[in-house]
Symmetry: C2
Subunit: 189 residues, 2 copies
């Protein structure tokens, strides 16, 4: 079950077998059902998840009950509530499986152990932070520069699976608009 993660890590790093075995040993397999909540608001993120199959999203719930999705991780991507995980403080967002799927979970303690015992893990963490930063960066850019229709067209272009695999409701919450607006945008294309 960890071979998929092994391949992913080997593709990114010059990691030897000893290191790889040690790293993989810390991950725990976890099966999740669609809509299953992995982390609630005000809890502290205890795990970093690697998505083997399916997808997981991080989202806020606003005062008025509306959802706003910050990030969606598909296969071979990591997800957690990073601010909470880094500082081990309560989060203000939720983590939820958006499809049935399989994950590998790394606990915060294991994460810290890896940081101090496996040299390459620090490089891994840097890479993860860079990717997370880049992802947030282009997403922020899209919000600053584009209107809803432009953001939708952009999403289709660079992340078509998001529209194919997820509900309109989820896509709308990712685009920062209502379901009704998304529905109208789709008609206009």
């Amino acid at each position: 079950m960890t071979s998929q993660l092994a391949i992913h890590l080997q593709n990114s790093f010059d990691i030897n077998h000893q290191e790889l075995d040690k790293v993989l040993g810390f991950f725990k397999y976890k099966k999740v059902l669609k809509n299953e909540i992995l982390l609630n608001k005000n809890e502290t993120a205890k795990h970093l998840y690697f998505v083997l199959s399916g997808s997981v999203r991080a989202f806020f719930i606003e005062e008025d009950g509306l959802e706003a999705t910050r990030y969606i991780a598909f296969e071979n991507n990591f997800i957690t509530s990073l601010n909470s995980f880094i500082k081990q403080e309560p989060t203000n967002e939720y983590l939820q499986a958006t499809e049935n799927g399989e994950l590998l979970a790394l606990s915060y303690d294991s994460f810290k152990t890896l940081l101090s015992t496996v040299a390459i893990w620090k490089d891994f963490y840097i890479k993860q932070l860079e990717v997370a930063y880049t992802t947030n960066h282009w997403r922020l850019e899209s919000f600053i520069k584009m209107d809803a229709k432009q953001r939708y067209d952009y999403l289709i272009e660079i992340y078509p699976q998001m529209i194919q695999r997820l509900s309109n409701k989820t896509v709308a919450s990712y685009l920062g608009i209502t379901q009704e607006s998304l529905s109208r945008i789709k008609v206009k294309r």
Copy 2:
């Protein structure tokens, strides 16, 4: 001139004098004038800047000529076009001094040298990435969850100096709205 950076680094890390001297030696002092451009679109970010005084912003210029500000660094913060700096690829944004000020510049080559020769520098870089990520994160959150007025109120609360020290035009471009809209929002308060 580097003592300010020294204090900043010592506050964040358990860094010894040898390491500190080596790190500081790589930074070059630079005086900048308000509105001075430090990096142009399509150029590759060659420097990471530490702001001693004044402020520096990163912004896009849209097709229609409107500006959209991604980030503004005040004293004791670092700024660069990180995606470009990390990958040494052309950037799609500009860096500009928003006030007269003083900077310390670290070249990409020096940055890489530090990464491979000063152990603590890797931890520094991780910290920088974490801060950059966190900054982008709350900013993205504000765009997804809030309308323009809410974003403005939020900015006053957590970043009052931005409104005090920068022009309406710059603040508006940071909030992702037009100057006219900002002007109206201010009246409504």
